[in-house]
Amino acid sequence: MSVAERGRIASVARLEEIRRELEAKGRRYATTISVCAGTGCQAYGCQEVVNAFAAELGTRKLDEKVLLRSTGCHGFCEKGPLAVIQPGGVFYQQIKIKDVPDIVEKTIIGGQVIERLLYSEPKTKERIAREADVPFYKFQERIVFGRNGIIDPTSIEDYIAAGGYEALAKAVTTMSPEQVIDEVTRSGLRGRGGGGFPTGRKWAVTRRQAEAVKYVVCNADEGDPGAYMDRSLLEGNPHSVLEGMLIGAYAIGASDAYIYVRAEYPLALKNVHIAIDQANEWGLLGDKVLGSDLSLRVHVSRGAGAFVCGEETALMASIEGRLGTPTARPPYPAQSGLWGKPTNINNVETWANVPLVITRGAGWFSRIGTEKSKGTKVFSLVGKINNTGLVEVPMGIKLRDIVFKIGGGIPRGRAFKAVQTGGPSGGVIPESLLDLPIDYDALTEVGAMMGSGGMIVMDDRTCIVDVARYFMNFLREESCGKCTPCREGIKVMLGILTRICGGEGAVEDIERLERLARGIKAAALCGLGTTAPNPVLSTLKYFRDEYLAHVVDHRCPAGVCTALISLAIDEAKCKACGRCVKVCPTEAISGGQKKVAAKIDQGRCVRCRACFETCPFEAIVIT
C-alpha cells in the first residue's frame, strides 16, 4: 500500500488495523532469513551475503515464499556474517558467499541443518543449531535489543508489525502525561548513559517548569571507546528510540526534539533519518500524532568529533552551533537547557526502554534487576574475550557469568586479569571481584562505574599502567580546556604515567598521582574532569604491585611497555622458519634460514612484538 493510498494514520484504531494487515502480509511467507547488517557485520562483508541470498532466491523463484531481511545488529559480532532462519531459529555463523546456495538448497528447501555453519562450543566441540541454545544468547535477557534481529531498521512496517508504536498509542489515548511519568518513575528506570539518574524524576522536573517551549533530546554521542550499544540500537531499531522520545515529549509537554548523533556513526545517521521521514509520512511524527493533541518535530544534529559533547551541557551548546564546552550546573537542563528552555536529555538506550515500560507496565519492568537498578543493561563485551559482542543482561548478573558463560572466557587460554567498565570515567574490576552483582551502585562502590556499558576485558598480557596511561592520553586530547584542573592536571598525570611506562618513574610518582587525582576530582567543572582520575585511582587500588614493578624494578610484568622489555630468541625452540625475519619492520632480525636460528639486533629492535605475535613455536621470549 502506498503512502498516498493509506494517508497519515489519524487514529489508534487505524494503527491497529494497519498492524493486522501487516501481520497477515508477514504470514504469507513460509520462511524468513534474517541477516545481521549492523556496522560490525558490514565490515565482514555481510552485504555480499545478502546480495547472494537475493540472487539465489530469485533464481529459484522463491522470493514469494521466503522473506529475506537485512536487520540491525544481532550482537554476536565475533561470528559475523550471521543469519537466523525462522521458523526453527537455526543460527548460521561466519557465512561466506559460497555457502548461500547450500543454505537455500538444504535448509530453506530441504529443511536440513548444515553442520559446518553452526556455532561450535569451543570446549566440547558440540554443534548448536538454534540461536536460543547458543551460550552467548542463552544467558541473556534481550528485552530491548531482541527486536533488532527481527526487523529491518529501514522499514516502519516491520516495526509496526512487531508491536511498534503500541506504547505510544496507549500513552496518548489512555494515560495523562502525569500517569506516564508516574509509570516511568515506578518502573525504577534509571539513565543508561552513565549517571544513572532516575528517568521519571527527571521528566517530572522538566514537566513542572512554567515555560511554554520545552525540548526533549536524545544523546547519541556515544563517545566511550569500546562501547557501541547506542549505535547498534539507533542503527538497528531507530523507531523504538523515536517512540520513546514521543512518549517523553507527551509526558513533559515538548513539541521539538533533537537527536545528537556521533559523527563516526554514518549508518546510524542514515537509518535515523529514514525512520524520521517514515514516521512523518505515516502520521507518527509531526502534527496531531495518531489524532491526539501531541505534535512533535524531530531534528538531527551531527556531532563533529568531540568526546566532551557527551556531557549534557556541552551537547546542548554543540546543538546550538557553539563550542562544546560544559557549563556549571545548576541550572540543570530540566530548568534551563537548549536555548535557555527546559530540556529533558536521555540517552539512546534509556529512550528505547520507555516503550517497554509503557506497554508492559512498571510492575513487569521492576521485577527485572536488583533493588535499586531495574531492568536490563546492554554491555559491549570487548578486548581479550572470545565472544566479542553486545550482550543484554538483567541488572544484578555476576560479572563472572558475563565474562565466562556469555563471553566464553579469555582467548588462547590466557589468564583473566581485569575488566574495565565505564570508559575513561570508570575503573577496573579485578579477578577477586568477579562474583560482583553488576548494577549502578555495586560498580560505583568498587571504584568502577556503569558508564554507558563498555566492558573491556584484559588478560595477563595487558599492562595496567599502560591502560591507565591510555585513558589519561585520551582525556588530555578530549579535555575542552575550559577549567584548569582538568586541562593542566590531566596533562601532568599523563606526564608522570608516561615516565613510569618509559622506565623513568620513581616511587614518589605514585603519591604524586594520588595527590593530583584528589585535586582534579574536587575542583574540575564537569563530569569529564571530576571522573578523569578514576582510571588511575582504581588501577592503583587493585594493581599497586604492577605500578611498583615499573617504578622499583623497572620491569613491565605484562611485557607491554616497550622501554622496559627486550626480546630475544630461544635458539633451542627456533626452527629457522624465517617468519620473524620477514615480519620485522626494522630489519633487526638476521638468520632464521638454512637451519641457522634467528638473532635479534637489540640496537635496531623497536620492541613492536611483531615477531613475538608471529612465531608459531614460542621461540621469542620477552624479558
Binding site: C77, A227, H299, G303, A304, V382, T388, Q420
Partner: protein
C-alpha cells in the same frame, strides 16, 4: 592553491535564520571541499557577518574538521580501548614509520592522510585499520606493508 569560493554563498544561505548552526555550516563546507580552506572561511565570515575567529575556534575545537587539505587516500587506525589492548598503538606506530608521517598528517605527495579514531565500534575485528572505507580486521604489525601495498597498487592502477 586557488579555491573556488562561488558556492560559499549557497551553503551559507542554508544556515542563516532561526536554528542555523555554525557547526553544521562547517560540516557542509568540509563536505564540499574536503577540508576548510582559508579563503572559504573568510568568505563565509563576510557573508554571515560572523567573526572569522569564531569559525576558526569551532574548526580547531572539533576533531572532525581539518584546516589542511587531505590526501587522496585516508588511512584510519582505530585506537579505541578494545583495539588498544590488542596492540593498536604498535600498528599506528608502524603506519607512521612506513608512511613517514605522524598521525593526523598528510604525505608530501598528498597521497595519504593518516588519522586515528577513538572507536569505530567494530571491536570484534580489533585492531582495525580502515582504508578509504574498507575495513581490515585483526591487523598485525606484519600486515601493515600488505595493506599499504594494496592501496598503493590501487592508486597506481587509477593513474594508468
Amino acid at each position: 592553491m586557488e579555491v573556488d569560493t562561488k558556492e560559499v554563498g549557497t551553503i551559507c544561505e542554508k544556515h542563516t535564520g532561526g536554528g542555523g548552526s555554525l557547526v553544521m555550516l562547517l560540516q557542509d563546507i568540509q563536505g564540499r571541499y574536503g577540508y576548510l580552506p582559508r579563503e572559504v572561511l573568510k568568505e563565509a565570515s563576510r557573508n554571515l557577518g560572523v567573526p572569522l575567529a569564531r569559525l576558526y575556534g569551532l574548526a580547531t575545537f572539533y576533531r572532525s574538521f581539518s584546516l589542511k587539505p587531505r590526501g587522496r587516500h585516508e588511512i584510519c587506525a582505530c585506537t579505541g580501548t578494545a583495539c588498544h589492548v590488542r596492540g593498536a598503538r604498535l600498528i599506528l606506530e608502524q603506519l607512521e614509520r612506513r608512511l613517514g608521517i605522524r598521525s593526523g598528517d598528510t604525505t608530501g605527495d598528498r597521497e595519504f592522510t593518516l588519522v586515528s579514531v577513538n572507536c569505530l565500534g567494530a571491536c570484534a575485528l580489533g585492531p582495525v585499520v580502515v582504508v578509504d572505507g574498507k575495513y581490515h580486521g585483526k591487523v598485525t604489525v606484519g600486515d601493515v606493508d600488505e595493506i599499504l601495498a594494496a592501496v598503493k597498487g590501487a592508486a597506481a592502477g587509477e593513474k594508468s
